[in-house]
Homo-oligomer: 207 residues x 2
DNA sequence: GAATTTGCCTAAAGGCTTTAGGCAATTGCA
DNA sequence: TGCAATTGCCTAAAGCCTTTAGGCAAATTC
C-alpha cells in the first residue's frame, strides 16, 4: 500500500485546481479522492467533511487574492491604486474562476475571523486614503467598491454582459474612471424629498 | 391512490417557497416530493431533472422581479426611478432570498432568451432616459447599475457588511445618492497615463 | 360505459457523504 | 538496529439524492 502523502494543505490546493477546472460547486470529496487515486474515506482523516474542504479552499483563495492585492497596491495611490486592486480581483477571477467562486463562500464567523477577509477590507480602506472622505463616508465607499467589484466580476464571469456591443474591457475601464471621479467628489446625502421620497420610508420599514 | 395534481407550475411555485425557506441550493427534487407528500419519481413526469426544476424556479423569480420592477417604475423618472428599481431588487432579495438566489442562476442561452432577463435590461435602460448619456455610455451605465445592485445585495445578504458601524440602510441610500450624482455628470474616459497606466495594457493582454 | 390518456407508484441502479474499524507503513526511541 | 507507537489509507456499510423503466389506477374522452 503506497502512501500518497495527503495533507489538509495538499487537499486544499488540489481542491482549488479542481474548482478552476470543473467549477467550485462540482468540487466534491469523491472527485478529489479520484484525483489522488485514493479511496474516498481516506480524505476524511484530513478534512472534517465536505463543507470543511470547501472552507479550506475558500481560505486559500482569499489568501492568494490578498497577497496579489498587497503586491499590486505597493507604491501606488489614488486612481492607480484603485485600478490596480480592481484588476487584481478581475484578473484573478478570470484566471481562477473556481477559486474566485470559492472566495465568495459564506464563511462561519470563526472561519471568517481567521481568513484574509480583514486584509481585503484594509486594502480597500488603504485606497481611500488617496481620496478625501470622512470616516463614515469611508465605510460607505468601502461597501460601494466591494459591491461594484464583486457585482461586475460575477456578472461578467457569468456571461451576463456577453451579448451587447461595447466590449467588457471598455466598460470596465469606464467604470474605474467613474468610481475615481465619484470618490474625488463624493456627494452629500441627498435631502429627503416628499412626494416621491416615500420610497425611503418604505425601505426603512423592512429593516 | 389520490392524485395531488402536480404540474410544472405548481412545482416551480413550491420550489420557490422551499428555496426561500431552506436556501436555493438546498432545493432538491427529493425535498420537493416530500413537501407534496408524493414519491420522488412522480416529479419526473413534470420536470426533466434537477437542473430543469431549478431553471423553472429561476424563470419564475425573474418574472416576479420584472413585474415588481415595472410596477415600481411606472410614473417615476430620474432619481426616483433609480431608487424605486433598486429598492425593488433589494426588498425582493430580503423577502425572498431563495428566489433571489435562483434569479442569479446561470441560464442556458435558450432559457435566458425565454426569460424576463430582457425586461430587466429594458427597465435599467428606461431609468437612464432620465439622464443625459450617449449610447455607448448608456450600456456602460447599465452594466454599472447591474453590478452595484447585484453586488451590494449579495454582499449584504451574505452578511459581508454585518460587523461595522454605519448601518446598511444608511450605506444603501448613500450609494443611491452617489449613483444619481454619477449619472448626472458621467465622466469622460480618462486619458491613458504612462508610468502606472501599464495596468491597462496588462489587463488587455488577457482578453 | 369503454377506451385512452395521464398521474403517481414500485423497483432498481449509480453516485456522493460520512462513520467505524482494521492493517500496514512510517516514525521515534532505545 | 530493532521494537513500539503513531499515522495513513483501506474495506465495509448505511443513508440520502438522482434518474430511468415499467405498472396500475384515476381521469378524460367519445
Amino acid at each position: 500500500m503506497v502512501r500518497v502523502g495527503l495533507t489538509a494543505e495538499r487537499l486544499a490546493q488540489a481542491g482549488a485546481e479542481l474548482a478552476d477546472e470543473v467549477g467550485f460547486d462540482q468540487v466534491t470529496v469523491s472527485a478529489l479522492a479520484r484525483r489522488f487515486d485514493v479511496k474516498v474515506a481516506s480524505l476524511y482523516s484530513h478534512v472534517k467533511n465536505s463543507q470543511d474542504l470547501k472552507t479550506k479552499i475558500a481560505l486559500l483563495a482569499l489568501e492568494e487574492l490578498a497577497d496579489r492585492g498587497a503586491a499590486a497596491l505597493a507604491g501606488r495611490a489614488g486612481k492607480d491604486a484603485l485600478a490596480a486592486l480592481a484588476n487584481v480581483y478581475r484578473d484573478y477571477a478570470r484566471e481562477h474562476p473556481g477559486r474566485y467562486a470559492a472566495a465568495q463562500l459564506r464563511l462561519s464567523p470563526e472561519a471568517a475571523a481567521a481568513s484574509a477577509g480583514g486584509r481585503h477590507a484594509q486594502m480597500t480602506r488603504a485606497i481611500l486614503r488617496g481620496y478625501d472622505l470622512t470616516e463614515p463616508d469611508q465605510t460607505h465607499a468601502v461597501r460601494l467598491l466591494g459591491s461594484v467589484f464583486h457585482g461586475y466580476i460575477s456578472l461578467e464571469l457569468g456571461g451576463g454582459f456577453s451579448h451587447s456591443a461595447p466590449d467588457t474591457q471598455e466598460t470596465w475601464s469606464r467604470i474605474l474612471d467613474a468610481l475615481d471621479a465619484l470618490l474625488r467628489s463624493w456627494p452629500e446625502p441627498a435631502p429627503a424629498r416628499d412626494p416621491a421620497g416615500a420610497r425611503i420610508g418604505e425601505a426603512r420599514q423592512q429593516v
